[in-house]
């Protein structure tokens, strides 16, 4: 992290690494699979996600959609693709 910081990575750099199509989606989290790795939270381009404050039986706090951000998902699916645990996915809202 120290090295990353020294290269002045800021929260402003949370651009997706390629351009998503502008859609809207609903995020689903399978909490029992989530290991609180934070990949989805950290790399969601719209900062839709956060870590919840409750624990799963395995002792992790699963990711969840921030209150008030439910409509902000652009269905880029980066969270779904980057999740190493198949714990999060997006259902695209029908246009």
């Amino acid at each position: 992290m120290a090295i990353a910081n020294s290269l002045q990575t800021s929260h402003g750099s949370r651009a997706p690494i390629d351009k998503p199509t502008r859609h809207h989606g609903t995020v689903h989290v399978i909490e029992l699979r989530c290991k609180e790795c934070n990949f989805c939270v950290q790399f969601c381009p719209e900062e839709v996600l956060e870590i919840s404050d409750h624990y799963t039986p395995r002792g992790y706090r699963p990711a969840r959609v921030k209150t008030g951000k439910e409509g902000d998902c652009i269905a880029c699916r980066f969270c779904e693709h980057v999740c190493p645990d198949y714990a999060i996915y997006v259902v695209e809202d029908s246009p």
Binding site: T9, L32, R33, F39, V41, F43
Partner: protein, 288 residues
């Protein structure tokens, strides 16, 4: 947001559940490990490329990466340490209709199995080799290996690694691979597209995936958690869509230095199989 922990989940939720041995989830991988991301990308590649389910074969060796066989629902062979490639070789040769992926870690493929890698590349064996490079032996607790950066700390390089690591794309190129790419798990979309592109191709194809190993490598080297290692990649990644062969030596990985990612090699060469079929024709023709 859906269920909380107490509610029984429907058996299929995630779009990949039918492609996973989902009853065995969650995986054994540590929080912040990127192997699962790579596995998902490979599954996507199979799907996107339209590889029939019964034709998918994954061969793993020993180590964290090889555990793919317990989660991806394909014909799956969990073999011995270092021997993914020769097992895949025999398998592919005897049933060329199968789509065979050797999926293993950096220690498996390049330390104990290094000889097999270079020879399979030399023969242009028809397999896709995926290397999860997390710079150390994760499963056994973080020992140094053939890709541990010079100076990096591990349980067996407590004063900093005195050795130089392999540059894997360079090695693969030099020994004959027809396709070579390097991505990090942060580049998941490019990684997925790469798999979709190469699973159906012929020849010896090699994809290196730089993967966070927070518990062993990341913590020891003050990079931090999985997500912090991802940020480290984000900060240091330099994308080169196509590196000329003369430039491939400049893709070495050093701690704290830029990491070149991209597709480095994409070339045609006759495969072992193609050449052997001619041997058969000659043997049968000349002896009849």
């Amino acid at each position: 947001m859906t269920a909380n922990a107490e509610v029984a989940l429907p058996p299929e939720l995630h779009p990949y559940d039918h492609l996973l041995r989902s009853a065995d989830l969650p995986t054994i991988w540590c929080p912040g490990c990127g192997i699962g991301t790579a596995v998902g990308a490979l599954i996507y590649g199979f799907e996107q490329a339209g590889v029939p389910k019964e034709k998918r074969v994954i061969v793993g060796g020993i180590g964290c990466s090889s555990r793919i066989v317990f989660y991806a629902k394909t014909d799956a062979y969990h073999t011995t340490h270092g021997r993914t490639i020769p097992f895949a070789t025999g398998l592919k040769l005897c049933n060329p209709s199968l789509n065979v992926v050797a999926f293993a870690g950096d220690g498996d493929l390049f330390a104990i199995g290094g000889n097999h890698f270079i020879h399979a590349a030399r023969r242009n064996m028809d397999i896709l080799v995926v290397c999860i490079n997390n710079f150390n032996y994760g499963m056994t607790g973080g020992q140094g290996g053939p890709t541990t950066p010079a100076g990096a700390l591990s349980t067996t390089t407590p004063y900093g690694n005195p050795e130089f690591p392999f540059n894997l794309p360079n090695l693969a190129w030099a020994t004959g691979a027809t396709y070579v790419a390097r991505w990090t798990t942060l580049d998941v979309r490019r990684l997925r597209n790469t798999f979709a592109d190469v699973v159906n191709r012929h020849g010896f194809r090699f994809v290196e995936i730089l993967t966070p190993c927070p518990v062993s490598f990341g913590k020891t080297n003050k990079i931090g958690s999985g997500v912090e290692e991802m940020e480290y990649y984000q900060a240091l990644e330099v994308l080169k869509s196509r590196v000329e062969s003369t430039e491939i030596t400049k893709t070495d990985i050093e701690l704290g230095k830029p990491i070149v990612v991209g597709t480095f090699v994409d070339r045609e060469r006759e495969t072992f199989r193609e050449r052997y079929v001619r041997v058969v024709a000659k043997a049968r023709g000349s002896k009849s």
